[in-house]
């Protein structure tokens, strides 16, 4: 084989290998908000809920081996990282996406709160057919803080058909126009997603620092050498 033919064979082989490798490295390539939302839809199977309880609070669980929640978390973070650029695509999804996509959109818009116009959130809160979407749209309106003094919360609460939506209107009122702290989105942006699901029996507990409901900052590693810790994750009063 001549050297120039050899070079072109090697060159095109490398090119083909790079093309094949590209999907595997897709995570590194910058993805648009719409790409991210598509990824979420791919991995999140809305039909997987199980173990429904017969009485209130009607809890459904994801199967223990389902990993859709991890994609959801990564996508949420990536969307928040895009900030203002994600708002437009998210508002489109809030208007016309599938129900589980509209839920994610409303939830994400809450974290992007100051940059989000109130009208689409109001519309979703009042008219979306899905109660989870209405609930998260209510939350997002509350998270905008004083920018929503125009919201007639009492009227909205009277008109709300769903008990949980009404409850969340109550939380929005409880805020008294205090917006979501910018720190909430900042902590999410700063979080390393490779630490997802890394609490393993027999290994060092991942450290964290969180603020308690009465304003006290608590860091897990402060207890080392002092006390054992019983760490209880709760679903909270929803």
């Amino acid at each position: 084989m001549s050297s120039s033919l050899l070079r072109s064979v090697v060159g095109s082989t490398i090119f083909v290998l790079l093309l094949m490798a590209a999907p595997l490295r897709g995570e590194d390539a910058p993805q648009s908000a719409n790409d991210l939302l598509a990824r979420f839809s791919q991995d999140w199977n809305e039909n997987l809920w199980e173990h429904k309880s017969r009485k209130r609070p009607h809890g459904y669980m994801r199967p223990l081996d389902d990993r859709g929640w991890q994609t959801r978390m990564r996508v949420l973070r990536e969307l928040v990282l895009r900030g203002q650029d994600a708002v437009g695509p998210l508002l489109e999804v809030l208007k016309g996406g599938a129900a589980h996509e509209r839920v994610l959109a409303a939830q994400t818009l809450g974290l992007l709160a100051p940059d989000v116009p109130p009208e689409p959130l109001l519309s979703a809160a009042q008219t979306d057919k899905n109660s989870a979407v209405r609930l998260y749209a209510v939350d997002a309106l509350g998270m905008r803080g004083s920018a929503t003094t125009a919201v007639e919360w009492d009227l909205m609460r009277k008109q709300a058909r769903n008990r949980d939506v009404r409850k969340h209107i109550g939380y929005a009122l409880e805020r008294k126009d205090v917006p979501v702290a910018s720190e909430v989105a900042a902590v999410l942006r700063d979080w390393n997603p490779e630490t997802i699901d890394t609490a393993v029996l027999g290994q060092t507990a991942p450290d964290f620092a969180l603020t308690s409901v009465n304003g006290e900052m608590v860091r897990l590693s402060e207890y080392r050498g002092q006390k054992a810790v019983v760490l209880v994750f709760v679903y909270g009063d929803t």
Partner: protein, 109 residues
């Protein structure tokens, strides 16, 4: 509840609770039940960024009423910072009893 907190304290352990919401829902619950945040005898830590819930493998795994929230879970971490007990709930009310937690704490010593 107070007795169980005392048993846990006597075993040189600290109870911490983690809630994936901003403070408003917890404050309203306390208000509705006639309590204030001063009545809490253990830290109720808020994780609205969901980062700790995701690190500990519980975020978004439960739909309670219409909202998505954490799968309930209990971890016991010894004084060296090692996880010695981990239980993730299979149903909304699947959690170890106080007696079980105390038994696990006793195993650490």
């Amino acid at each position: 509840m107070r007795e169980s907190l005392e048993s846990i304290a006597q075993l040189d352990a600290q109870l911490l609770a983690i809630d994936p919401h901003e403070v408003w829902s917890a404050k309203m619950l306390l208000k509705n039940t006639g309590f204030s945040t001063d009545d809490l005898h253990y830290p109720l830590l808020m994780d609205p960024s969901l980062t700790v819930s995701a690190t500990y493998g519980v975020a978004f795994q439960m739909q309670i009423h219409v909202e998505l929230s954490n799968r309930p879970a209990t971890f016991i971490i010894d004084k060296q910072g090692v996880i010695r007990y981990a239980r993730r709930a299979l149903t909304y009310n699947d959690r170890p009893t106080v007696r079980q937690v105390i038994a696990e704490l006793n195993k650490l010593n």
